[in-house]
């Protein structure tokens, strides 16, 4: 497989802060790589470095094996968090402008957006705007697609459709780098890279990122009481319906809940991706 985008010990400092710190990363053709991290972990900065929109303080960013330039950028499609469309231009004007900027001739507008071709982008519902931004990013047949939180605020069905487009492109050889806060989406990526404080804290398949992490599942007669006890002890308790999930050992949880007469049943279960993520990015407890 060809490496489309690569970071080698890529670093950028803003004053004393290393927003991206010695990051190694590669996106190959045909794969969907999910970039995860808390807000402020450096995801968007890393993307901007890879695209050549920021100049690194150290290491290097390569697009198609070369430093980012106008020529390499032509081969990339990018949907930013803000979608990057012109609100006061119509869908068709946005389409024509982008085609001209990328020098991709006059590709036909896909049916999914042509119904709104004469509408001002700013007046369209968010879901439609997003479809337009996707269509525009796909229009010049990019070899690499970079999507920054592409489905924030989108309903389940529209999201499934957007992912269909993403997968179709991957099957045609396009490499995709996507950031998301949505763990269902992250679970659909071929590979994940988790950033914490500008560095790569974990990477690999979903199973590799979850690794051997487990949580204790608590079933009992009164979840409210059990929650109050465990939460009061400073554990990060998550409620699922009436079942509690807590990081830690069964011994620790059992000891905290003993004497409360709650008919407690404990089980150690594999952590889900969200729980693994929280454990990777959480600062160690203060006390």
């Amino acid at each position: 497989m060809t490496v489309l985008a690569q970071a080698r010990r890529l670093t950028i400092r803003f004053g004393a802060l290393a927003a991206v710190d010695s990051v190694d990363l590669a996106v190959e053709g045909g794969e969907v790589v999910g970039l995860l991290g808390a807000n402020g972990a450096g995801k968007t900065t890393l993307i901007r470095l890879l695209l050549g929109l920021l100049r690194p303080s150290g290491g290097e960013a390569l697009l198609f094996g070369a430093l980012p330039s106008m020529d390499t950028r032509r081969r990339v499609g990018y949907v930013s968090q803000t979608l990057g469309l012109y609100d006061d231009m119509t869908v068709e004007e946005n389409w024509t402008f982008t085609s001209a900027a990328f020098g991709s001739g006059r590709p036909a507008m896909p049916a999914s957006i042509s119904a709104s071709s004469d509408e001002l982008v700013g007046t369209l519902p968010l879901g439609v705007q997003r479809r337009v931004a996707f269509a525009v990013a796909f229009s010049h047949g990019p070899e690499l697609l970079v999507l920054d939180e592409p489905t924030s605020g989108v309903g389940p069905l529209s999201r499934a459709r957007l992912w269909q487009d993403v997968r179709d492109s991957a099957e045609h050889g396009t490499g995709i780098l996507v950031t998301t806060h949505n763990m269902e989406e992250a679970a659909q990526c071929d590979r994940l890279v988790v950033m914490v404080g500008g560095r790569v804290a974990a990477d690999g398949t979903v199973a590799e990122v979850i690794a051997s992490r487990t949580v204790v599942e608590v079933v009992c007669d009164d979840w409210r009481k059990a929650f109050a006890v465990l939460d009061g002890a400073g554990l990060v308790v998550q409620v699922q319906g009436e079942v509690l999930r807590v990081p830690g050992s069964t011994d620790q949880v059992a000891a905290l809940l003993s004497g409360h007469d709650l008919g407690v049943r404990l089980a150690v279960v594999p952590a889900n991706l969200e729980e693994a993520f929280v454990s990777i990015v959480s600062p160690p407890p203060r006390r």
Binding site: G153, H181, W223, D231, G241
Partner: protein, 272 residues
């Protein structure tokens, strides 16, 4: 039903923004309303707290002083400090003096902002702003807490912390109604309502919604999209057969909650 909506409709001009929605908000339970952009989530919560008028049906709610409400945008003042925001909200609800000081300290500790009381609301990260807004709505210990998209755009770590705060509130007896666009958050609810174009297309516990999925769900591992009602999941396809007869080559699959949500939306689309 203690509080909630009964057969409630809301019209904006000729547009029906909320269409005969019923939803119960019971003490000590978390009700999550899931829907995309434009599904009517904000209209639903605004109808529940009394900010828009119903054209049909009923809204049952406690007196205003017992409601905590966080709108989808803001919910705090960017040019007031953390402390001033809490004091302002406190004075609106009659929580002042030592009561305000004690309750603020408790909530600030809870949301991890006790070292940042002099920072301006606008200087906080998105996740912190949402946590502060929820804390402001909790100052007066409301019996009904209504949150409009408290976690949209918030990263998973802050989201887990926010949910911990919301769960603690429900555990202490408050009825909670929260909207979200993240399907995965519905797992945290005791009861879920799926909202699409102003209509409730499925309701119940996450388990009820999954077990109510009609027909059969399967996986097809092929490059090309299989016929019928199918959508992508990872490198394979999910296919749903309303008749219960999966096509040849499809391996049957136990539906998860996300599948159930997509199927409910597909069923709804067929009806329309």
């Amino acid at each position: 039903m203690r509080w909630g909506l009964e057969n409630a409709s809301v019209k904006f001009g000729s547009r029906l923004a909320l269409d005969r929605v019923s939803l119960a908000a019971e003490p000590s339970t978390i009700r999550v309303v899931v829907g995309g952009d434009g599904a009517g989530k904000s209209t639903l919560v605004r109808a529940l707290v009394g900010l828009v008028r119903l054209c049909q049906g009923d809204a049952l709610r406690p007196p205003k002083r017992q409601i905590g409400y966080v709108p989808a945008s803001a919910g705090l003042y960017v040019d007031l400090t953390v402390k001033e925001n809490l004091a302002f909200s406190g004075s609106a609800y009659g929580v002042v003096g030592s009561q305000l000081a004690e309750r603020s300290a408790e909530l600030l500790e809870r949301i991890g902002l006790n070292d940042a009381t002099e920072r301006l609301g606008g200087q906080l990260s998105g996740g912190m702003q949402r946590k502060l807004a929820v804390a402001m709505a909790l100052l007066h210990r409301p019996s009904l807490l209504v949150l409009d998209e408290p976690t949209t755009g918030v990263d998973p770590l802050s989201r887990a912390e926010l949910w911990r705060l919301i769960s603690a509130t429900a555990a202490a007896g408050t009825a909670v109604v929260a909207t979200t666009t993240y399907v995965e958050e519905a797992h945290r609810a005791s009861k879920v309502t799926l909202l699409e174009q102003g209509r409730s297309i499925a309701t119940g516990s996450p388990r009820d919604i999954v077990s109510a999925v009609p027909g059969a769900l399967g996986v097809v591992r092929s490059k090309a999209q299989p016929g019928g009602l199918s959508w992508r999941w990872g490198t394979a396809w999910r296919i749903w057969a309303p008749s219960g007869e999966l096509p040849e080559g499809a391996e049957p699959l136990q539906a998860g909650f996300e599948d159930a949500v997509i199927i409910a939306a597909l069923v709804d689309q067929e009806k329309v």
